[in-house]
Symmetry: C2
């Protein structure tokens, strides 16, 4: 795809078709503030670009039946979500429906060259399955701050070797299509906004709790990235004066006290200390523990596992309470790897937020788990690149 | 003034004249994207409304000299800043220059009826000085959260008796002009953005440390008020697990550990304990202490006073560090009553923020004192109502 919308009206029409599927010309006319003749001109121009096609007859509204307009069925977007310990790659159509989705375990610390080699081989596999003859654009999420205009990760604490790597430039060359890069929590927020629990919510926070902790901030319907692209970097907010040493060089950071990796370490300590038969057995069998083991132990009613989850929920709830006082959002979504901890975690978070934030801010504040799981990031990535491509060039 | 701009172009022109003073038609043409003839139409319509006047000949740009256009010199805005312990009332012209400013000590807990009686008598005094024959609009700031669309304070912790009081409606009746109401920290942020240290900064935080603590959040040039108007309510973020009891019912809130009133209480305790001759003498003489006494004692080199300020700066710096990680602003402005504590306070805040926030977020982050002092709130209030009146009706 080289075509881009020629003006803001065309961009608006493309996004309406992306978010709402096929529309008749009459329906589009109801949604955009354009005269009938002006609308016809813009739709015709879009048909000429090949971005949209006429497809099937629309239901009659009394007059002559018109064709439905829809986005070209051959458009393909790539969504890539690079996590600390895994890679997700998906292909979507122009309506951002996932046509194919692959996951591969890989440590982000292997560096950008190895990671993108893996991404490209996953893309090749999706192509070999016939899911993507050509790609029209790709969105890439990375687990750290990104200088957004250039698409370059900056000083990412859990991504040694990535500082300044030109992700956007390198990938757009390798993939042969336009590429946009963003922080993974921002993309998960976009994903939940597009297709998940935060649809139609203008202001919300997406708190991602995985190996690290991050926050995607959506204000007025758009991601707030901040002056240098590091907005939402909440993993290093202090929760314990003189607390645990953190990888960032400070003490008492949220991430050092509760995150996927902190929880795994705490569970291993508890298993070795012999407090939990369930965790000890798992550690003996597996040689190490993850947050999934804690979730499994908690599901059996293991008290130590439940206590670990509750203590973690208290920590992250304390930070979220501060965010709620600061941003006064309309919703808080919890996502990322530890959502397997489910409602025990959520109950602790809610208790902290409802206790510590002002009543005015929490009166109608849903605090919920994300709906999309591991597809939030790839759908958000596809949404990011489609927002870019469905803007005037 | 009953006239309002008829469309977005006229609104844009009014704001340009407000923020930049008189312009020639040619200069306005350079600033707005309108054809010469279309611009002439819009300016002529504004001249008809009486909102702008032709005034003096502009400097020649080679052709025929044209008249300068400026906002009507008789337009008057009222800015009212109701603090916890004092009231500021000012009259400005349409360019938001302060023509007269009165201050009166009064406890907000006397309630809205008594407070607004006082405000009206201050307005009468300004009128008697010939500073405001008529008022074209008024902005009102109150030290608590406000349901912005209705202009009603909501459950304000330090304002018993104000919950749900229809400030906007009551005042617009009493003053006979349109009124807008907002949280005081939001208005101080607007003031510093309009005429102070934050001019030309799109994203910044204004941290007001007075009797209580609040934060005005400006993102993309506009105040972020949040879903229910309580964004920036940072005084109740926890800084000490199981810390001091706070008026809000929780423990360890920032406001309970550092604010104008917490500092005064700590200083009195220190004076009674006999650690500081300077503070003890002041307490004996005055019967009570305020943050101004701590500032004065610190200026004499009093170690106890300096330690109190540093400890407070550490507390508030810790919270600001979290805000910087979350919002990634382009500037942090410290204002409110305790700015008399000056650079000792600022040094502690900076130390905490630069130590605890990520380097990417602090690399080019000025942390500065507000420039406008006690006029920030009244200028911001005038700005608020002018933004409203200089919008299409």
């Amino acid at each position: 795809m080289t075509a881009r919308p020629g003006n803001a009206h065309q961009a608006r029409l493309l996004r309406l078709l992306r978010d709402g599927g096929p529309h008749s010309r009459a329906q589009l006319g109801d949604l955009v503030d354009l005269s009938r003749s002006k609308l016809a001109v813009e739709v015709d121009r879009l048909l000429e670009t090949g971005l949209v096609v006429a497809d099937g007859l629309a239901a009659s509204r009394g007059g002559r039946r018109s064709h439905n307009i829809r986005l070209a069925p051959g458009l393909r977007f790539l969504g890539v979500d690079i996590g600390a310990t895994s890679i997700d790659v998906a292909v979507t159509n122009a309506e951002l429906e996932v046509l194919g989705h692959l996951n591969h375990a890989m440590d982000v610390r292997e560096g950008p060259v190895a990671v993108f080699e893996q991404v490209l081989s996953m893309v090749a596999k999706l192509k070999s399955l016939g899911l993507a003859d050509g790609l029209d654009g790709a969105g890439i999420g990375v687990p750290g701050p990104v200088r957004f205009p250039e698409g370059v990760p900056v000083a990412p604490p859990i991504m040694p070797g990535w500082d300044g790597f030109p992700v956007r430039e390198a990938l757009s060359q390798d993939l042969g299509c336009p590429v946009m890069v963003d922080n993974d929590a921002n993309l998960m927020a976009l994903g939940e906004q597009h297709a998940g629990v935060a649809r139609s919510v203008a202001d919300f926070l997406y708190v991602k709790i995985g190996t690290g902790i991050g926050c995607g901030i959506v204000l007025g319907g758009a991601v707030h990235r901040g002056t240098t692209g590091s907005a939402g970097d909440i993993g290093h907010i202090q929760v314990e004066p003189d607390g645990r040493a953190c990888g960032c060089g400070n003490r008492g950071c949220l991430e050092a006290h509760f995150s996927g990796s902190a929880l795994a370490r705490d569970a291993e300590d508890a298993a070795r200390a012999g407090g939990s038969a369930e965790l000890s057995t798992r550690l003996e069998t597996l040689g190490k523990l993850s947050s999934a083991d804690v979730a499994a132990a908690a599901a059996t009613g293991d008290q130590v596992a439940l206590d670990l989850i509750r203590a973690g929920g208290d920590r992250v709830g304390q930070v979220i309470a501060g965010l709620v006082n600061s941003f006064n959002p309309g919703m808080v979504v919890i996502g990322g790897g530890v959502t397997g901890l489910g409602h025990t975690l959520l109950a602790s978070v809610r208790t902290q937020v409802y206790r510590r934030s002002l009543p005015l801010a929490t009166r109608n504040l849903p605090i919920v788990l994300g709906e999309l799981g591991s597809t939030a990031g790839v759908i958000g990535a596809a949404r990011l690149i489609s927002d870019h491509l469905f803007s005037p060039a």
